[in-house]
């Protein structure tokens, strides 16, 4: 396993049980600053759960998670400190498959919600910041629009702006394009490519293989709650060393094309 001292995320021996189901079986990995890491695998392999454990949307059953200087170690029966969880959450932005925009707030309202409520910024400061990030995803002109009037692709770009505005050190993407109509996927991927190009540290769960090939510094293939194989996209896609990866890629790329 690759471990380095300047890692921004460091996960060690992470376990997650859902009742009797062992979903993550002692996963360990590190992410370096500016690295783009893409997690691939079948649905139900545990890749989304892995991502959701990192910011404690799912409480890990056991293991250690360190993010930029904050570290939480847990085990069955351990009561976690909400303040420590909050500290870790603030270092990570999360983008969801279903966008989860707040429908009762405008686009700008969504983007500044965390700034005002969590960071206690003044309204003016927050609005300036919010506008900056709306422009970044190319949606400044939608600032006063409610989510119901936005397309799926626009919603997801606003959701990305909402996370970016909190200026996290890492961005997590949980299948950000899976709920989108095919013609809307491109605009979201373009925003993510731009972020990758600017050196944003990202962890992405996706089924968009060609996108993964383009932006990933490292691909991790997850199966049955374990990291089966990891490496540069060129290696994983063209010369996978594990049979399971090979079978997954063959069936996946095949169904991908026939879709």
């Amino acid at each position: 396993m690759l471990m380095n001292d300047n890692a921004i995320i460091h996960v060690e021996n992470l376990h997650k049980w859902f009742g009797k189901l062992h979903v993550l079986k002692g996963v360990s990995f590190s992410v370096s600053p500016k690295e783009v890491m893409v997690l691939i695998g079948r649905s139900g392999s545990g890749k989304s759960t892995l991502l959701r454990c990192l910011n404690f949307l799912e409480e890990p059953t056991a293991g250690t998670i360190s993010v930029a200087g904050d570290s939480i170690t847990t085990a069955p029966g351990v009561k976690l400190d909400p303040k420590k969880i909050l500290a870790i959450r603030l270092k990570m932005g999360m983008v969801f498959q279903e966008f989860n925009l707040f429908p009762h707030m405008t686009a700008l309202g969504n983007v500044i919600e965390g700034l005002v409520t969590v960071k206690k910024m003044s309204q003016d400061e927050a609005i300036a910041m919010g506008e900056k990030y709306l422009s970044k995803v190319g949606l400044f002109e939608k600032r006063d629009v409610f989510p119901i009037r936005l397309s799926g692709g626009q919603k997801q770009r606003i959701a990305i702006a909402r996370s970016l505005a909190m200026e996290p050190q890492v961005m997590l993407f949980d299948e950000p394009t899976s709920a989108l109509d095919p013609e809307l996927i491109g605009e979201v991927l373009d925003v993510m490519k731009q972020l990758a190009y600017e050196g944003t540290t990202m962890m992405i769960v996706t089924h968009e293989m060609s996108f993964a090939n383009d932006v990933a510094d490292r691909i991790i293939y997850v199966d049955h709650g374990e990291i089966v194989e990891q490496g540069e996209p060129e290696k994983i896609f063209n010369h996978p060393s594990d049979d399971r990866t090979r079978v997954f890629l063959r069936t996946f790329l095949h169904t991908d094309q026939s879709d």
């Binding site: 910011n55 990570m92 279903e98 707040f102 409520t117 006063d144 989510p147 119901i148």
Partner: protein
């Protein structure tokens, strides 16, 4: 009554004014339908009135005491408005308690809902108005003068307290369902931005839940206007008490209670109308 169903054009090709013509036709059909329903209502009221008049119903008596009973409308409305406001606060607390992970809060809220929903409103009114002063007197003799006096409530205070407690319990379930109907993703998005559980509830969940709940609160308010008649047993001068006072004295029960019923009916019709308009406006919220 026959309805015109002919369109302006029988031509099969598409006429640009076709949409407007269709809409006009639809409006006409709807208007006729509404008119028919209204005539059924009017016919029913007429038949009932004629029947009553044949059976020595005295409209002159109603006319004489109309003003007196009418004065109770404000009391009824005031009672209902105050009680629905307090009930809403109780219901919010109750729902937060029921949904809390804290066992004490859950226990308190569950006990409240079960106790209040499991007993008749009339008994609750009696306990608050007649039962509490008895305990109050006992406390006074034990040296808790102030507390003892506080427990002796006026009829109006008792009425508001009883209605609030009662409706608060039923509305707790409404609030709980409303809060639970907000998708889990909303909470996840909020807490991953760093909002605390309470901030998430206050800023994200409740504003959406309350919008869903408002029509139900409206319905509860309408129901409460009628249930408030029960406070007449304590001699609060609202519609029912006023009607009963003269009805009993002159043995004109039918006259006075039909008058009271009509006043409640009008109140609820007006309230329903306001509620419907509010609901329509809420349905178009967040659309800009």
């Amino acid at each position: 009554m026959s309805v015109e169903t002919q369109f302006p054009s029988d031509e099969p090709d598409i006429d640009p004014s076709m949409g407007e013509a269709l809409q006009a036709h639809k409006n006409k059909v709807r208007l006729i339908h509404t008119a028919k329903i209204a005539s059924v209502w009017i016919a029913l009221v007429l038949i009932l009135s004629i029947g009553l008049l044949q059976l020595r119903f005295d409209p002159g008596y109603v006319g004489e005491h109309y003003g007196f009973v009418m004065q109770g409308v404000l009391t009824t409305l005031g009672l209902s408005v105050a009680s629905i406001a307090i009930a809403t606060i109780l219901a919010l607390l109750g729902a937060l308690g029921r949904l809390s992970h804290n066992s004490i809060a859950q226990g308190l809220a569950g006990f409240y809902v079960s106790l209040v929903r499991g007993t008749p409103l009339l008994i609750q009114i009696y306990i608050i108005y007649l039962g509490l002063p008895q305990i109050g007197t006992q406390l006074q003799s034990l040296g808790f003068a102030h507390l003892g006096k506080t427990l002796t409530l006026t009829a109006i205070q008792s009425g508001i307290l009883a209605l609030s407690l009662n409706y608060g319990a039923y509305m707790t379930e409404i609030f709980r369902a409303g809060i639970q109907s907000i998708s889990h993703g909303q909470r996840e998005a909020a807490i991953s931005l760093g909002l605390t559980e309470w901030q998430t509830m206050r800023r994200v969940i409740l504003p959406q839940a309350i919008r869903i709940i408002i029509p139900d609160i409206g319905n509860q308010f309408i129901a409460m206007q009628k249930d408030s008649a029960l406070v007449s047993v304590m001699g609060v001068w609202e519609i029912t008490y006023r009607a009963n006072r003269f009805g009993r004295k002159d043995s004109k029960f039918m006259e006075m209670f039909i008058l009271a019923a009509a006043l409640y009916w009008i109140l609820t019709i007006v309230s329903s109308w306001i509620e419907e308009r509010l609901e329509k406006r809420l349905a178009h919220a967040y659309e800009r």
